[in-house]
């Protein structure tokens, strides 16, 4: 790791905005650490926040692989998220009206299959057309999915939601009972504060492990895919679809693959959410979730995976941070419209003044080997090469 061996050189190598982001992350992590040590921030709630942030990071990855890679405008993030959450909830929950009490892993598979089918169904009519048709149709799809979940009570319990969802590791050997088996710990990080870690803490820790696994695998896959020849075609489609077609690429097929891939990752986030929250309701399909994720991706930098990761964390900061505003009595209005205003202003300001986001994709698009092996300057000057090689 160059960060440890040569921190000064690493810092100097970063762009201005990267330095800003690193400073921000370090400061924020410090703040959280202080909160944890003084007991102001309960460890279990902290882990819940980390899980939530991982979930938003997954959603941002999914949207980034559609919008950031290929330029597909998907306004139904909430729908795919909801499909994932309801897919696993209806399979594994004890109160599920259709199947119920199956292993969460079965729910995971079912959710992903349904999400893929839905993505195909919406992709087939719209991906051949101009990009804005997908935007309109996907906004409609999100509404239809929400209406179906809300109204088909015999399948989804309607507005009552689905309760009794087991934790993700239900039915696994060892891991299923781990939170109960772990002993309660009382630690004193600072004199005067005692933090007790009990079963909920270990359960939350397991959740974080799950989401970190999901995020890690998705990040690795997307990073590799983005650099691969497949990813290069997607980037070409984004900047000039006619060019990609002129190069003989089946752009419709590539767009479809990118759309389905992104939708699967969003559904994965939904699966995790169901097992984190242990309760899902149609309220979770509110279209505003979609636009939280959009802000995350645009803020992070469209097309940049690490940007999407960063954006996902910032969104959780905004969402949970504005919740605290309610505790200040001097703010006379409800926080919900303020949050909406913040999201709207963020979208407009970003698109207007910094459409590339804070961490635009730069070096991550290039194989590191190429950078390392590239000579600082060419072996021979252009003029010499011309003189040497030309006949005239």
């Amino acid at each position: 790791m160059r960060v440890l061996s040569d921190p000064k050189g690493y810092w100097a190598d970063l762009t201005r905005s990267e330095q800003g982001v690193v400073a921000f992350i370090v400061a924020f992590a410090g703040l959280l650490l202080v909160g944890l040590l003084t007991g102001a921030l309960a460890p279990t709630y902290f882990l819940y926040l980390v899980g939530l942030a991982g979930m938003y990071a997954l959603l941002s990855f999914g949207l980034n692989s559609q919008w950031g890679f290929t330029g597909l405008i998907n306004f139904s993030v909430a729908a795919f998220f909801g499909i994932g959450a309801y897919g696993t909830a209806l399979m594994s929950a004890s109160s599920s009206p259709i199947a119920g009490d199956l292993l969460p892993i079965v729910g995971l598979v079912v959710a992903l299959v349904v999400a893929a089918l839905l993505a195909l169904a919406i992709g087939i009519p719209t991906l051949r057309l101009r990009a804005d048709y997908l935007a309109i149709a996907s906004l409609g799809l999100a509404e239809v999915v929400r209406l179906v979940v809300l109204n088909e009570r015999q399948f989804t319990n309607g507005s009552a939601g689905v309760r009794g969802i087991p934790p993700f590791f239900e039915g696994f050997p060892v891991l299923a009972d781990l939170p109960q088996m772990m002993p309660g710990l009382a630690i004193r990080p600072l004199p005067g504060t005692t933090i007790v870690l009990e079963t909920p803490f270990w359960g939350a820790l397991l959740n974080v492990v799950v989401v970190l696994g999901f995020v890690g695998v998705s990040y690795a896959v997307l990073r590799r895919a983005h650099r691969s020849p497949w990813g290069r075609v997607l980037r070409t489609i984004r900047s000039d679809e006619d060019l990609a077609r002129a190069l003989g690429k089946n752009t419709y097929g590539f767009k479809m693959q990118s759309f389905v891939l992104g939708s699967l990752i969003m559904a994965l986030a939904g699966v995790f959410y169901a097992h984190l929250n242990l309760f899902v309701s149609p309220g979770d399909l509110d279209p505003v979730t979609t636009f939280y994720v959009w802000v995350a991706v645009i803020l992070g930098g469209s097309g940049s995976n690490r940007g999407a990761l960063f954006g996902g964390f910032v969104i959780v900061g905004i969402r949970e941070g504005t919740r605290f505003l309610n505790e200040f009595a001097w703010i006379p209005i409800d926080v919900a419209p303020l949050r909406l205003l913040l999201i709207g202003v963020l979208i407009v300001v970003l698109m207007r003044y910094r459409p590339q986001g804070v961490l635009p994709p730069q070096r991550e698009l290039i194989w590191p080997k190429v950078v390392d092996e590239a000579p600082d300057r060419p072996d021979s000057g252009v003029r010499e090469a011309k003189v040497g090689g030309g006949d005239d």
Partner: protein, 313 residues
């Protein structure tokens, strides 16, 4: 029963038509799908709400509506147009971006409009302070329950759409707008001041949306989400009619509004059609009225992406 659904379909489609014309105009001349269009309708509705509260009834009434309401209608149209022009000048105009970036920006604009309205008026439903009317007696024997307000909505919409038609077909501005929708570059080199035409497009489109919002508030209720909830239907209408075609948008709006209000007929189809048993019906409740518009939209995209009146792209 069917006559009643048709009548309310006519009222509802008047509102949709007012929305879809504006969306289609802006789509073809400013060249992007304006997702803030629904919230522009909300802006118009609330501006009329405030104006009506301020000026009051003003004496005599026409079709069950006091004169003050028509003043409020004009105010709603004006405020929606001004808000749209300011947004265009402050946000969209300075962006050197493609239609996709503008589309995403318009989502942000939509949220800003809605949030400001919600901060100002709360999230609850409100109504205009006009007397609730009983259905017109003369039509009740035919099973049609429409109030004079509904008649006022349809007539006002007809007047607005008629004047737009005159403007587009017979005025200089209308010819310029059609030229610009057809080919912006050609319009520009022909000496048309495209900036000015674009500005007028925003004024007309947003003004019509504002009037649609006022009528929607009169027909139903006002709430900060009213416009955004209608946006999907309006888009469906525009796509059905063919993006860029104003007359297509009118036709599409009419059809989508009708279909939306005729949804209850699906469940009682057997009683209406000859040769099928009375109990026959397609079990789709009114809660799926918006979903049907979506399915129609997707079907149109599959079969005829340019819409029923659209030109080739």
């Amino acid at each position: 029963m069917v006559f009643d659904y048709l009548a309310s379909g006519l009222v509802f489609s008047s509102i949709i038509v007012l929305g879809s014309i504006g969306l289609s105009l802006i789509y073809s001349i400013a060249d992007f799908a304006n997702f803030a269009h629904g919230d522009t309708m909300t802006v118009g509705a609330y501006a009329a709400f405030v104006t009506f509260g301020a000026v009051g009834g003003l004496g005599t009434s026409v079709l069950g509506l006091p004169i003050g309401f028509f003043v409020a209608l004009v105010a709603g149209i004006a405020v929606a147009a001004v808000v749209a022009v300011v947004t265009e000048k402050v946000v969209y105009d300075g962006m050197s971006a493609g239609s996709i970036e503008l589309l995403i920006t318009s989502i942000g604009i939509a949220f800003v409009y809605r949030a400001i309205i919600q901060i100002g008026f709360g999230a609850d439903f409100t109504r205009y302070e006009v007397q609730t009317l009983r259905p017109i007696e003369a039509l009740l024997p035919y099973g049609v329950r429409v109030t004079q307000h509904d008649v006022a909505i349809v007539l006002s919409a007809l007047v607005l759409v008629g004047s737009l038609h005159t403007l587009l077909q017979y005025s200089d501005l209308g010819r310029k707008m059609r030229a610009m929708a057809d080919n912006p570059d050609l319009a520009r080199v022909s000496g048309i001041r495209t900036d000015r035409v674009k500005l007028w497009t925003w004024i007309i489109g947003a003004g019509l949306a504002g009037s649609g919002g006022v009528f929607l508030g009169l027909y139903n209720q006002l709430s900060p989400r009213m416009g955004f909830n209608l946006l999907l239907l309006i888009f469906a209408a525009v796509i059905l009619g063919g993006i860029g075609s104003v007359y297509g948008a009118m036709l599409g709006g009419f059809l989508i509004g009708m279909i939306n209000q005729l949804t209850p007929v699906l469940t009682e189809l057997g009683a209406l059609l000859p040769l099928v048993p009375d109990s026959f019906g397609i079990p789709i409740g009114i809660e799926y009225a918006n979903a049907i518009a979506f399915v129609i939209m997707v079907a149109v995209l599959l079969v005829r992406p340019n819409g029923i009146a659209g030109e080739a792209t």
